[in-house]
Symmetry: C2
Subunit: 497 residues, 2 copies
């Protein structure tokens, strides 16, 4: 680790930090959407100004390649700009208006509602996306967009990258004139720091992407509070991929190449890594697995994000491969060294899989387990046995999708995103994205942590009854000065813009 | 209690009930919105057919007056019809579409999302609204509208009313051709029944309106599950009303009459009962309290809903009036007998209130506590000390609202609904309503249990990536056959209807 960044003075006094956050929130929340949008854009601009330095330090801290980090930084700034666009437009607040009706008995009062910001949000940086899901990543961007102040708990595995991004945010704060403590940065390796942040009474919400154990602990801290707060933890997913019979028969070589790439992309360190491959046994599967094995053997081991993740992968892989009935199909021919991961493909029968709960657990890294099923009915049993997932994928021909509509229907119940004929790795930042899913993929399947809907995690509806027009927020004023989409007397009204 | 209704055979085997519910859900969720809408309308029609019998039995079981019950039944059927209208229209699913973009590197896939139903929902009937928040009430109607199957846990205080409503639902099930077990009815007085329902693996969500202890227990049951599920418990609120200085000065007589009515309406057995009245001490307050006391004395005690609630009120009132520094200002001149409640108005100083946490707790019944504040700053301290609320009210002149904008701003942080110059009792069923609020008013401030947005409690977003158009639900098909409002490539599009 280099030491080229001089750390600014950091308050480790969580109480002070949270009180400052609450005070900043009181001011920041009242700024118009356009001012918050400009602030997000300024953060993006300040990050761009430090691109070279940021990418270099993140590369040293995370072992991720420069090209990937450059792409991720672009994604991060685009994300900030997209969220800015959404809040400048303004319709995200779900404004609804029911006008007074004096002719009714009893008379109906004037009732209006919109989403308002929750309060100070604590964001835990994720190690596998040092830009896009860390200091100025999706959780921070969406919370700021909603009108919340943010306290970032830096990930210790890229502490200097985090600080440098935070410096960019501080410059944006100064340039935009938003309150000084709108965003704050807390370092610390101990769980106690995280616990204190989650349990401070001023904390109104928590964002986290990481391990199941980590997310579960944060949720438990919140549940221990006198007043629990929403915890959005994106935790654990093995992203089952179903290879339907005709697709496997007709397209084995291309599928093998595509999936060897997806399984080992970024050394498997994606939440959407395809950890489970389901198919029916037979010649087509044997053929596909032979091709996939050849591809896996060719993969060059790369360094993982940090020693903790590498140790966990090595230990988890060892334990997994000791399970009864598991066959190793392929590992990289080049043996891993030091922090490098060992790309591995293994296989079990569906019967064995159904018997041993351990196989359903995430092994974070370039590991994928093939479940060999006797027939599509047994494959359905496997799907039914799985936990909630971020994604599930159907590699299928048109005929497959017609013949096995029931399998596809089952897949829809499993995950937040269902994909046809693509690899699950790769998550678009857009309005229609859902990066979420039933427990334990996340703590709350009703929200997404990627895409513009992520903003709604940090808001609650507030109803204004009998307010004089001038005292209403502009979103709810009769003349609709912001020109947003609203539900007006039960009809959607979208003014021409 | 009469015994005129023959109970149908009731399965007390929770496991069977939940398995049946899961099976019904699998079919029911796939019905088009129009079919679900017709089902809701049929329930409303079947309830109307039994109006006379229902109102008579509910009157015997709940002690609520016939006029009130007739009005509540109308509200219940209107609620079903309004929800039917919303799902027939269809835009509630928040459809969003991002089209594929092959020109981008990497190419962007076609991504679409909408809300889909969660799964079987357990609804606990509320004792204070035997129609509107019980068997076919808001939780059931919204869950069915979302596409969930429902298991109703009947409230033992109006078990026969509940059964009779359930018979109406069964007729609607038969007439509409929805799966037999789309709605089921479970009786039982023990907490174990509720616990077993919440903890069954098939249960996907829980709706509850009742006490803080009850809601907290249900939330804890869910947290104990391997996979926790959303629990929407509307629990505890004392609905603080601030009487601003000029309003108190100018309008004391009308305010006294209005609030005596609101405090004792339905013997205070409303979630939105004004339990806390805040004002600055002085001649204007003394004058108002003298008038209010006169009104309270005139109130005739009425029977409460059931003996449990009456015992809890009597015990709670006794304990409250024993607290240090409390003055009883007025009680009904007519003494209560049997199950009747004792309408009571009391007063404490703000300093005493701030000192004794007990005063912040809900006392369910016709009790209201006046907090006498030294000045508006102390009044703000009282507001800051309060728990989350369903409502908060400002009784204020235009001048008050200008002079004390900071007090109004503070009120906005307290509750799900903020009301100017009306009593908080009375909750409209409409698009803009929020019947919810920060903990402990509810377990989840991000949702409402009254109004059409209540449907969204029972849904989660599902993202479809790379789907052939024909395999998409109609809400997401390119041609928009349902003509709903959608976000299409980041722009709201509302087709002419």
């Amino acid at each position: 680790m280099t030491n080229t960044i001089t750390a600014p003075e950091i308050s480790t006094d969580i109480k002070t930090v949270m009180q400052q956050s609450a005070k900043a929130f009181d001011e920041y929340k009242r700024l118009p959407g356009s001012a918050k949008a400009s602030f997000l854009e300024e953060i993006a601009a300040q990050i761009e100004l430090k691109r070279e330095q940021l990418v270099a330090i993140a590369n040293q801290e995370s072992n991720l390649p420069l090209a990937r980090l450059n792409g991720e930084l672009t994604r991060t700034t685009n994300q900030l700009k997209l969220f800015a666009e959404v809040i400048r437009e303004g319709s995200w607040v779900e404004a609804a208006i029911d006008e007074a009706d004096g002719t009714r008995t009893p008379a109906r009062p004037d009732i209006r509602k919109m989403l308002v910001a929750l309060g100070p949000v604590v964001v835990f940086g994720a190690s596998n996306f040092p830009f896009a899901f860390s200091t100025a990543g999706g959780d921070t961007a969406s919370a700021l967009a909603a009108g919340c102040s943010v306290v970032i708990k830096a990930h210790p595995a890229h502490a200097q990258t985090s600080l440098l991004v935070y410096e960019a945010i501080q410059k944006a704060i100064a340039a935009s004139g938003v309150p000084e403590h709108t965003v704050q940065h807390v370092e610390g390796k101990s769980n106690e720091t995280g616990k204190a942040l989650v349990q401070h009474p001023a904390t109104a919400g928590v964002g986290f992407t990481g391990s199941f154990a980590g997310g579960k602990a944060l949720q438990a801290y919140s549940n221990e509070r006198e007043k629990p707060v929403p915890v959005f933890a994106e935790m654990s997913s093995i992203n089952p991929v179903v290879f339907y019979p005709a697709a496997l028969q007709s397209n084995a070589a291309a599928l093998a190449q595509q999936y060897a790439g997806s399984i080992t992309l970024g050394m498997g360190q994606f939440c959407t890594n395809p950890g489970l491959l389901l198919a029916v046994k037979g010649q087509a599967l044997d053929n596909f697995l032979a091709l996939l094995s050849t591809e896996i053997k060719k993969v060059t081991p790369q360094k993982m994000l940090h020693s903790g993740i590498c140790q966990a992968y090595n230990k988890g892989l060892h334990e997994m491969l000791e399970e009864k009935g598991i066959d190793v199909l392929a590992q990289s021919e080049q043996k891993p060294e030091g922090l490098e991961a060992y790309p591995t493909l293994a296989k079990v029968s569906a019967a064995t899989f159904l018997d041993i709960p351990h196989f359903k657990e995430e092994l974070f890294g370039p590991f994928s387990l093939v479940i060999e099923c006797s027939d599509m009915d047994e494959l359905k049993q496997v799907l039914l046995s799985l936990h909630g997932q971020l994604t599930t994928t159907a590699m299928a021909t048109q005929d497959d999708l017609s013949s096995y509509a029931d399998v596809l229907e089952l897949q829809k119940t499993l995950a937040g995103r269902i994909i046809i004929n693509a690899a699950p790795t790769g998550v678009e930042v857009c309005a229609a994205m859902v990066h979420g899913g039933p427990y334990p993929a996340t703590t709350d399947a009703r929200f997404t942590s990627v895409g513009t809907s992520a903003i709604k995690r940090w808001a609650r509806p507030l109803c204004f009854q009998g307010f004089p027009d001038a005292l209403l927020p502009p979103e709810l004023q009769q003349a609709n000065p912001l020109g947003i989409v609203r539900i007006f007397n039960n009809k959607y009204v979208a003014p021409a813009k």
